[in-house]
Symmetry: C2
Subunit: 231 residues, 2 copies
Protein backbone atom coordinates (compact mmCIF):
# COMPACT_ATOMS: atom_id res chain seq x y z
CA UNK A 1 0.00 0.00 0.00
CA UNK A 2 1.39 3.39 -1.04
CA UNK A 3 1.22 5.87 1.83
CA UNK A 4 1.22 9.63 1.44
CA UNK A 5 4.34 11.39 2.70
CA UNK A 6 3.72 13.16 6.01
CA UNK A 7 4.62 16.83 6.45
CA UNK A 8 4.74 18.29 9.95
CA UNK A 9 3.28 21.77 10.15
CA UNK A 10 3.59 23.94 13.23
CA UNK A 11 1.41 26.85 14.36
CA UNK A 12 2.22 30.25 12.88
CA UNK A 13 2.60 31.49 16.48
CA UNK A 14 5.66 29.22 16.89
CA UNK A 15 7.60 31.49 14.56
CA UNK A 16 9.05 34.89 15.33
CA UNK A 17 9.20 37.58 12.70
CA UNK A 18 11.60 40.50 12.78
CA UNK A 19 12.62 42.94 10.11
CA UNK A 20 15.83 43.73 8.29
CA UNK A 21 17.08 46.25 5.75
CA UNK A 22 14.98 46.52 2.59
CA UNK A 23 15.81 44.11 -0.23
CA UNK A 24 15.21 46.21 -3.24
CA UNK A 25 13.17 44.18 -5.65
CA UNK A 26 14.60 44.54 -9.07
CA UNK A 27 11.30 45.43 -10.65
CA UNK A 28 9.35 47.58 -8.23
CA UNK A 29 8.30 49.97 -10.97
CA UNK A 30 8.16 49.87 -14.72
CA UNK A 31 10.57 52.83 -14.88
CA UNK A 32 13.12 51.09 -12.63
CA UNK A 33 12.85 47.96 -14.70
CA UNK A 34 13.40 49.85 -17.92
CA UNK A 35 16.38 51.70 -16.51
CA UNK A 36 17.99 48.51 -15.24
CA UNK A 37 17.54 46.72 -18.56
CA UNK A 38 18.87 49.71 -20.53
CA UNK A 39 22.03 49.84 -18.44
CA UNK A 40 22.68 46.13 -18.90
CA UNK A 41 21.99 46.14 -22.63
CA UNK A 42 24.25 49.19 -23.10
CA UNK A 43 26.93 47.40 -21.16
CA UNK A 44 26.65 44.24 -23.25
CA UNK A 45 26.35 45.54 -26.78
CA UNK A 46 29.36 46.83 -28.68
CA UNK A 47 27.49 49.66 -30.35
CA UNK A 48 25.40 52.24 -28.57
CA UNK A 49 21.75 51.18 -28.36
CA UNK A 50 19.32 53.77 -29.71
CA UNK A 51 17.93 56.09 -27.09
CA UNK A 52 14.26 55.59 -26.35
CA UNK A 53 12.02 58.50 -25.53
CA UNK A 54 9.38 58.01 -22.91
CA UNK A 55 8.63 54.92 -20.89
CA UNK A 56 5.57 53.70 -22.69
CA UNK A 57 4.65 50.07 -22.15
CA UNK A 58 5.56 49.05 -25.68
CA UNK A 59 9.10 50.41 -25.23
CA UNK A 60 9.44 48.44 -22.01
CA UNK A 61 8.37 45.33 -23.86
CA UNK A 62 10.92 45.94 -26.61
CA UNK A 63 13.71 46.46 -24.09
CA UNK A 64 12.59 43.46 -22.09
CA UNK A 65 12.76 41.29 -25.19
CA UNK A 66 16.26 42.54 -26.10
CA UNK A 67 17.37 42.13 -22.51
CA UNK A 68 15.97 38.60 -22.15
CA UNK A 69 17.43 37.59 -25.45
CA UNK A 70 20.90 38.84 -24.54
CA UNK A 71 20.69 37.18 -21.09
CA UNK A 72 19.79 33.91 -22.77
CA UNK A 73 22.66 34.28 -25.28
CA UNK A 74 25.04 34.92 -22.42
CA UNK A 75 23.89 32.39 -19.83
CA UNK A 76 21.52 29.95 -21.51
CA UNK A 77 18.28 28.77 -19.90
CA UNK A 78 17.54 30.48 -16.63
CA UNK A 79 16.75 28.20 -13.69
CA UNK A 80 14.87 29.58 -10.75
CA UNK A 81 13.96 27.87 -7.51
CA UNK A 82 11.26 28.79 -5.04
CA UNK A 83 10.37 27.48 -1.60
CA UNK A 84 6.99 26.48 -0.20
CA UNK A 85 7.13 27.13 3.55
CA UNK A 86 4.16 25.74 5.46
CA UNK A 87 2.67 26.75 8.78
CA UNK A 88 -0.76 26.04 10.22
CA UNK A 89 -3.57 28.09 11.70
CA UNK A 90 -7.04 26.83 12.67
CA UNK A 91 -5.94 23.34 11.70
CA UNK A 92 -5.48 24.33 8.04
CA UNK A 93 -2.16 24.60 6.14
CA UNK A 94 -0.95 28.10 5.22
CA UNK A 95 1.87 29.08 2.87
CA UNK A 96 4.32 31.92 3.52
CA UNK A 97 4.25 34.46 0.68
CA UNK A 98 6.16 37.70 0.29
CA UNK A 99 3.99 40.64 -0.68
CA UNK A 100 5.54 43.47 -2.70
CA UNK A 101 3.53 46.66 -2.70
CA UNK A 102 -0.17 46.14 -2.16
CA UNK A 103 -1.04 43.24 -4.37
CA UNK A 104 1.80 41.28 -5.94
CA UNK A 105 2.70 38.10 -4.00
CA UNK A 106 5.55 35.71 -4.61
CA UNK A 107 7.20 32.68 -3.11
CA UNK A 108 10.60 33.21 -1.52
CA UNK A 109 13.30 32.17 -3.96
CA UNK A 110 14.93 33.43 -7.11
CA UNK A 111 17.26 32.78 -9.95
CA UNK A 112 20.21 30.43 -9.68
CA UNK A 113 23.67 31.61 -10.62
CA UNK A 114 25.01 29.83 -13.72
CA UNK A 115 26.05 26.32 -12.63
CA UNK A 116 24.75 26.71 -9.08
CA UNK A 117 23.29 23.66 -7.33
CA UNK A 118 19.50 23.89 -6.87
CA UNK A 119 19.50 23.12 -3.16
CA UNK A 120 22.36 25.51 -2.38
CA UNK A 121 20.83 28.20 -4.55
CA UNK A 122 17.46 27.91 -2.86
CA UNK A 123 19.07 28.10 0.59
CA UNK A 124 20.99 31.20 -0.50
CA UNK A 125 17.79 32.82 -1.75
CA UNK A 126 15.82 31.89 1.39
CA UNK A 127 18.56 33.41 3.55
CA UNK A 128 18.59 36.57 1.49
CA UNK A 129 14.81 36.95 1.74
CA UNK A 130 14.00 35.57 5.18
CA UNK A 131 17.06 35.09 7.41
CA UNK A 132 18.53 37.49 9.94
CA UNK A 133 21.99 38.84 9.17
CA UNK A 134 23.48 37.19 12.25
CA UNK A 135 24.78 33.69 11.46
CA UNK A 136 23.45 32.38 14.80
CA UNK A 137 19.87 33.14 13.80
CA UNK A 138 19.87 31.33 10.45
CA UNK A 139 16.84 29.06 10.04
CA UNK A 140 17.50 25.38 9.49
CA UNK A 141 16.29 25.14 5.89
CA UNK A 142 15.46 21.54 5.05
CA UNK A 143 14.77 21.47 1.36
CA UNK A 144 12.34 18.67 0.59
CA UNK A 145 10.33 17.37 -2.33
CA UNK A 146 10.10 19.06 -5.69
CA UNK A 147 6.37 19.72 -6.05
CA UNK A 148 6.24 21.38 -9.46
CA UNK A 149 8.29 22.43 -12.47
CA UNK A 150 7.22 25.28 -14.74
CA UNK A 151 8.65 26.09 -18.17
CA UNK A 152 8.83 29.37 -20.02
CA UNK A 153 9.12 28.41 -23.71
CA UNK A 154 9.66 31.91 -25.15
CA UNK A 155 10.76 35.36 -24.09
CA UNK A 156 7.25 35.97 -22.77
CA UNK A 157 5.61 35.83 -19.38
CA UNK A 158 3.54 32.68 -20.09
CA UNK A 159 4.72 29.56 -18.27
CA UNK A 160 3.48 25.98 -18.55
CA UNK A 161 3.71 22.94 -16.24
CA UNK A 162 5.41 21.01 -19.07
CA UNK A 163 7.81 21.88 -21.83
CA UNK A 164 5.44 22.46 -24.76
CA UNK A 165 5.83 20.24 -27.84
CA UNK A 166 8.33 21.46 -30.46
CA UNK A 167 10.13 23.62 -27.89
CA UNK A 168 13.71 22.43 -27.79
CA UNK A 169 15.26 25.49 -26.15
CA UNK A 170 13.05 26.66 -23.28
CA UNK A 171 14.10 30.00 -21.82
CA UNK A 172 13.40 29.38 -18.17
CA UNK A 173 12.73 26.47 -15.85
CA UNK A 174 11.27 27.22 -12.43
CA UNK A 175 11.17 24.57 -9.71
CA UNK A 176 9.10 24.68 -6.55
CA UNK A 177 10.37 22.81 -3.51
CA UNK A 178 8.75 22.03 -0.19
CA UNK A 179 10.85 23.50 2.64
CA UNK A 180 10.36 21.62 5.91
CA UNK A 181 10.48 24.14 8.73
CA UNK A 182 11.65 23.29 12.21
CA UNK A 183 9.27 23.65 15.14
CA UNK A 184 10.49 27.16 15.92
CA UNK A 185 12.39 29.66 13.80
CA UNK A 186 13.24 33.33 13.63
CA UNK A 187 12.62 35.05 10.31
CA UNK A 188 13.81 38.53 9.37
CA UNK A 189 11.65 40.09 6.68
CA UNK A 190 13.05 42.92 4.52
CA UNK A 191 11.31 46.17 5.49
CA UNK A 192 9.91 46.77 2.01
CA UNK A 193 8.19 43.37 1.91
CA UNK A 194 5.36 41.88 3.90
CA UNK A 195 5.34 38.21 4.84
CA UNK A 196 1.86 36.70 4.70
CA UNK A 197 0.57 33.30 5.81
CA UNK A 198 -2.04 32.52 3.19
CA UNK A 199 -4.40 29.55 3.68
CA UNK A 200 -4.67 26.93 0.95
CA UNK A 201 -8.39 27.68 0.56
CA UNK A 202 -7.53 31.29 -0.32
CA UNK A 203 -5.04 30.22 -3.01
CA UNK A 204 -7.20 27.52 -4.56
CA UNK A 205 -8.83 28.53 -7.83
CA UNK A 206 -7.67 32.13 -7.35
CA UNK A 207 -5.57 32.63 -10.48
CA UNK A 208 -6.62 36.30 -10.74
CA UNK A 209 -4.90 37.24 -7.50
CA UNK A 210 -2.06 34.71 -7.27
CA UNK A 211 -1.32 33.73 -10.87
CA UNK A 212 -1.18 30.22 -12.37
CA UNK A 213 1.87 29.02 -10.41
CA UNK A 214 0.84 29.89 -6.85
CA UNK A 215 -2.88 29.25 -7.29
CA UNK A 216 -2.33 25.58 -8.10
CA UNK A 217 -0.05 24.84 -5.13
CA UNK A 218 -3.03 23.37 -3.18
CA UNK A 219 -3.45 20.72 -5.89
CA UNK A 220 0.28 19.95 -5.85
CA UNK A 221 0.30 19.60 -2.06
CA UNK A 222 -2.85 17.46 -1.96
CA UNK A 223 -0.81 14.26 -2.14
CA UNK A 224 0.82 15.03 1.24
CA UNK A 225 -0.66 14.23 4.59
CA UNK A 226 -0.33 17.20 6.92
CA UNK A 227 0.47 16.44 10.51
CA UNK A 228 -0.76 19.54 12.33
CA UNK A 229 1.47 19.68 15.37
CA UNK A 230 -0.02 21.84 18.11
CA UNK A 231 2.52 22.91 20.69
Amino acid sequence: MVTSPVVNTYPLSNYTFGTKEPKMEKDTSVADRLARMKVKVHYWVQFSAPSVDGDSYSHVETWRLIYSFLCYMKEGMRTSVEGILLVQEHNHPHILLLQIGNTFCKLPGGRLKPGENEMEGLKRKLCSKLAANSPSFQPNWQIGECVATWWRPNFETAMYPYCPPHITKPKECKKLFLVHLSEREYFAVPKNLKLLAVPLFELYDNVQRYGPVISTIPQQLSRFQFNMVTS
Copy 2:
Protein backbone atom coordinates in the same frame (compact mmCIF):
# COMPACT_ATOMS: atom_id res chain seq x y z
CA MET B 1 20.62 17.13 -4.71
CA VAL B 2 16.98 16.13 -5.00
CA THR B 3 16.26 14.52 -8.35
CA SER B 4 12.87 14.28 -10.00
CA PRO B 5 11.43 10.78 -10.27
CA VAL B 6 11.65 9.42 -13.80
CA VAL B 7 8.58 8.02 -15.55
CA ASN B 8 9.04 5.96 -18.70
CA THR B 9 6.40 6.69 -21.32
CA TYR B 10 5.98 4.62 -24.47
CA PRO B 11 4.44 5.54 -27.82
CA LEU B 12 0.67 5.23 -28.09
CA SER B 13 1.31 2.94 -31.08
CA ASN B 14 2.89 0.38 -28.72
CA TYR B 15 -0.53 -0.36 -27.26
CA THR B 16 -3.31 -2.37 -28.81
CA PHE B 17 -6.92 -1.45 -28.24
CA GLY B 18 -9.80 -3.87 -28.61
CA THR B 19 -13.37 -3.66 -27.45
CA LYS B 20 -15.51 -5.57 -25.00
CA GLU B 21 -19.14 -5.63 -23.86
CA PRO B 22 -20.52 -2.25 -22.80
CA LYS B 23 -19.98 -1.21 -19.17
CA MET B 24 -23.15 0.61 -18.41
CA GLU B 25 -22.24 3.81 -16.68
CA LYS B 26 -24.50 4.29 -13.72
CA ASP B 27 -25.45 7.81 -14.68
CA THR B 28 -25.72 8.02 -18.45
CA SER B 29 -28.92 10.05 -18.25
CA VAL B 30 -30.66 12.10 -15.62
CA ALA B 31 -33.68 9.78 -15.83
CA ASP B 32 -31.55 6.65 -15.27
CA ARG B 33 -29.84 8.27 -12.37
CA LEU B 34 -33.12 9.25 -10.77
CA ALA B 35 -34.56 5.77 -11.24
CA ARG B 36 -31.50 4.12 -9.73
CA MET B 37 -31.50 6.39 -6.71
CA LYS B 38 -35.25 5.92 -6.16
CA VAL B 39 -34.93 2.14 -6.16
CA LYS B 40 -32.10 2.24 -3.63
CA VAL B 41 -33.82 4.72 -1.35
CA HIS B 42 -37.05 2.70 -1.45
CA TYR B 43 -35.06 -0.39 -0.60
CA TRP B 44 -33.34 1.27 2.35
CA VAL B 45 -36.12 3.20 4.04
CA GLN B 46 -38.70 1.45 6.16
CA PHE B 47 -41.58 3.59 4.98
CA SER B 48 -42.53 4.19 1.38
CA ALA B 49 -40.87 7.31 0.00
CA PRO B 50 -43.32 9.79 -1.57
CA SER B 51 -43.76 9.37 -5.27
CA VAL B 52 -42.28 12.18 -7.33
CA ASP B 53 -44.00 13.35 -10.48
CA GLY B 54 -41.84 14.35 -13.42
CA ASP B 55 -38.06 14.29 -13.64
CA SER B 56 -37.31 17.97 -13.20
CA TYR B 57 -33.78 18.86 -12.18
CA SER B 58 -34.82 19.99 -8.71
CA HIS B 59 -36.38 16.59 -8.01
CA VAL B 60 -33.20 14.86 -9.11
CA GLU B 61 -31.24 17.08 -6.74
CA THR B 62 -33.57 16.20 -3.85
CA TRP B 63 -33.28 12.49 -4.55
CA ARG B 64 -29.53 12.77 -4.97
CA LEU B 65 -29.23 14.42 -1.58
CA ILE B 66 -31.39 11.79 0.13
CA TYR B 67 -29.47 9.04 -1.65
CA SER B 68 -26.03 10.44 -0.79
CA PHE B 69 -27.05 11.00 2.79
CA LEU B 70 -28.29 7.43 3.19
CA CYS B 71 -25.16 6.03 1.49
CA TYR B 72 -23.02 8.00 3.90
CA MET B 73 -25.07 6.80 6.91
CA LYS B 74 -24.65 3.26 5.70
CA GLU B 75 -21.02 3.19 4.59
CA GLY B 76 -19.33 6.35 5.87
CA MET B 77 -16.96 8.42 3.75
CA ARG B 78 -16.68 7.18 0.20
CA THR B 79 -13.18 6.62 -1.12
CA SER B 80 -12.57 6.54 -4.82
CA VAL B 81 -9.36 5.88 -6.70
CA GLU B 82 -8.45 6.82 -10.25
CA GLY B 83 -5.48 5.98 -12.43
CA ILE B 84 -3.35 8.25 -14.59
CA LEU B 85 -2.08 6.15 -17.51
CA LEU B 86 0.57 7.86 -19.61
CA VAL B 87 1.58 7.34 -23.20
CA GLN B 88 3.51 9.60 -25.55
CA GLU B 89 2.97 11.01 -28.99
CA HIS B 90 5.12 13.62 -30.75
CA ASN B 91 7.45 13.57 -27.74
CA HIS B 92 4.75 14.95 -25.43
CA PRO B 93 2.99 13.05 -22.60
CA HIS B 94 -0.66 12.08 -23.14
CA ILE B 95 -3.15 10.77 -20.59
CA LEU B 96 -5.70 8.02 -21.29
CA LEU B 97 -9.24 9.23 -20.61
CA LEU B 98 -12.54 7.43 -21.03
CA GLN B 99 -15.14 9.45 -22.87
CA ILE B 100 -18.82 8.84 -22.12
CA GLY B 101 -21.19 10.19 -24.74
CA ASN B 102 -19.85 13.13 -26.66
CA THR B 103 -18.25 15.35 -24.06
CA PHE B 104 -17.85 13.94 -20.56
CA CYS B 105 -14.36 12.54 -19.90
CA LYS B 106 -13.14 10.68 -16.86
CA LEU B 107 -10.11 8.86 -15.58
CA PRO B 108 -10.39 5.07 -15.31
CA GLY B 109 -11.17 4.14 -11.71
CA GLY B 110 -14.08 4.22 -9.32
CA ARG B 111 -15.33 3.75 -5.84
CA LEU B 112 -13.71 1.36 -3.38
CA LYS B 113 -15.80 -1.24 -1.61
CA PRO B 114 -16.03 -0.59 2.13
CA GLY B 115 -12.70 -1.62 3.67
CA GLU B 116 -11.04 -2.37 0.32
CA ASN B 117 -7.33 -1.67 -0.08
CA GLU B 118 -6.62 1.30 -2.40
CA MET B 119 -4.15 -0.52 -4.64
CA GLU B 120 -6.32 -3.62 -5.00
CA GLY B 121 -9.40 -1.52 -5.57
CA LEU B 122 -7.72 0.53 -8.28
CA LYS B 123 -6.49 -2.63 -10.03
CA ARG B 124 -10.02 -4.07 -9.87
CA LYS B 125 -11.44 -0.89 -11.39
CA LEU B 126 -8.76 -0.69 -14.10
CA CYS B 127 -9.49 -4.32 -15.07
CA SER B 128 -13.21 -3.65 -15.19
CA LYS B 129 -12.73 -0.59 -17.41
CA LEU B 130 -9.72 -1.50 -19.54
CA ALA B 131 -8.77 -5.19 -19.38
CA ALA B 132 -9.86 -7.99 -21.66
CA ASN B 133 -12.00 -10.70 -20.11
CA SER B 134 -9.36 -13.35 -20.73
CA PRO B 135 -6.98 -13.68 -17.74
CA SER B 136 -4.00 -14.11 -20.08
CA PHE B 137 -4.51 -10.61 -21.53
CA GLN B 138 -4.59 -8.69 -18.24
CA PRO B 139 -2.31 -5.66 -18.31
CA ASN B 140 0.45 -5.52 -15.73
CA TRP B 141 -0.89 -2.61 -13.63
CA GLN B 142 1.93 -1.09 -11.64
CA ILE B 143 0.30 1.40 -9.32
CA GLY B 144 2.76 4.19 -8.55
CA GLU B 145 2.79 7.54 -6.80
CA CYS B 146 -0.27 9.24 -5.41
CA VAL B 147 -0.33 12.55 -7.30
CA ALA B 148 -3.39 14.21 -5.80
CA THR B 149 -6.12 13.86 -3.22
CA TRP B 150 -9.47 15.61 -3.57
CA TRP B 151 -12.11 16.04 -0.86
CA ARG B 152 -15.84 16.46 -1.12
CA PRO B 153 -16.85 18.20 2.12
CA ASN B 154 -20.66 18.09 1.63
CA PHE B 155 -23.30 16.23 -0.32
CA GLU B 156 -22.56 18.48 -3.28
CA THR B 157 -20.48 18.16 -6.42
CA ALA B 158 -17.76 20.63 -5.34
CA MET B 159 -14.41 19.04 -4.47
CA TYR B 160 -11.26 20.65 -3.05
CA PRO B 161 -7.60 19.62 -3.04
CA TYR B 162 -7.63 19.84 0.80
CA CYS B 163 -10.15 19.09 3.49
CA PRO B 164 -11.65 22.54 4.09
CA PRO B 165 -11.34 24.03 7.60
CA HIS B 166 -14.10 23.09 10.06
CA ILE B 167 -15.01 20.00 8.01
CA THR B 168 -14.58 17.03 10.31
CA LYS B 169 -16.67 14.55 8.35
CA PRO B 170 -15.88 14.83 4.64
CA LYS B 171 -18.21 12.83 2.44
CA GLU B 172 -15.75 11.62 -0.19
CA CYS B 173 -12.02 11.34 -0.69
CA LYS B 174 -10.73 10.77 -4.21
CA LYS B 175 -7.12 9.76 -4.83
CA LEU B 176 -5.30 9.91 -8.15
CA PHE B 177 -2.43 7.48 -8.73
CA LEU B 178 0.13 7.25 -11.47
CA VAL B 179 -0.10 3.86 -13.20
CA HIS B 180 3.20 2.84 -14.78
CA LEU B 181 2.40 1.01 -18.00
CA SER B 182 4.61 -1.67 -19.46
CA GLU B 183 6.16 -1.17 -22.87
CA ARG B 184 3.32 -3.03 -24.61
CA GLU B 185 -0.18 -3.85 -23.43
CA TYR B 186 -3.56 -4.90 -24.76
CA PHE B 187 -6.54 -2.88 -23.59
CA ALA B 188 -10.18 -3.80 -24.10
CA VAL B 189 -12.44 -0.77 -24.05
CA PRO B 190 -16.16 -1.18 -23.28
CA LYS B 191 -18.16 -0.55 -26.46
CA ASN B 192 -20.12 2.35 -25.00
CA LEU B 193 -16.96 4.25 -24.04
CA LYS B 194 -14.22 5.81 -26.09
CA LEU B 195 -10.61 5.77 -24.92
CA LEU B 196 -8.76 8.97 -25.76
CA ALA B 197 -5.08 9.89 -25.44
CA VAL B 198 -5.23 13.55 -24.47
CA PRO B 199 -2.03 15.64 -24.47
CA LEU B 200 -1.09 17.57 -21.34
CA PHE B 201 -1.23 20.84 -23.28
CA GLU B 202 -4.90 20.16 -24.05
CA LEU B 203 -5.77 19.53 -20.40
CA TYR B 204 -3.85 22.46 -18.99
CA ASP B 205 -6.01 25.41 -17.98
CA ASN B 206 -9.05 23.77 -19.58
CA VAL B 207 -11.38 23.52 -16.59
CA GLN B 208 -14.45 24.11 -18.78
CA ARG B 209 -13.97 20.91 -20.71
CA TYR B 210 -12.22 18.64 -18.19
CA GLY B 211 -13.27 19.96 -14.78
CA PRO B 212 -11.03 20.99 -11.88
CA VAL B 213 -9.59 17.54 -11.15
CA ILE B 214 -8.41 16.49 -14.63
CA SER B 215 -7.41 19.98 -15.82
CA THR B 216 -4.77 20.33 -13.10
CA ILE B 217 -3.10 16.97 -13.71
CA PRO B 218 -0.35 18.68 -15.80
CA GLN B 219 0.65 20.71 -12.74
CA GLN B 220 0.67 17.60 -10.55
CA LEU B 221 2.81 15.70 -13.03
CA SER B 222 5.23 18.58 -13.56
CA ARG B 223 7.53 17.28 -10.81
CA PHE B 224 8.22 14.12 -12.81
CA GLN B 225 10.80 13.74 -15.50
CA PHE B 226 9.36 11.96 -18.51
CA ASN B 227 11.62 9.54 -20.25
CA MET B 228 10.10 9.30 -23.73
CA VAL B 229 11.06 5.83 -24.86
CA THR B 230 10.82 5.45 -28.61
CA SER B 231 10.68 1.88 -29.74
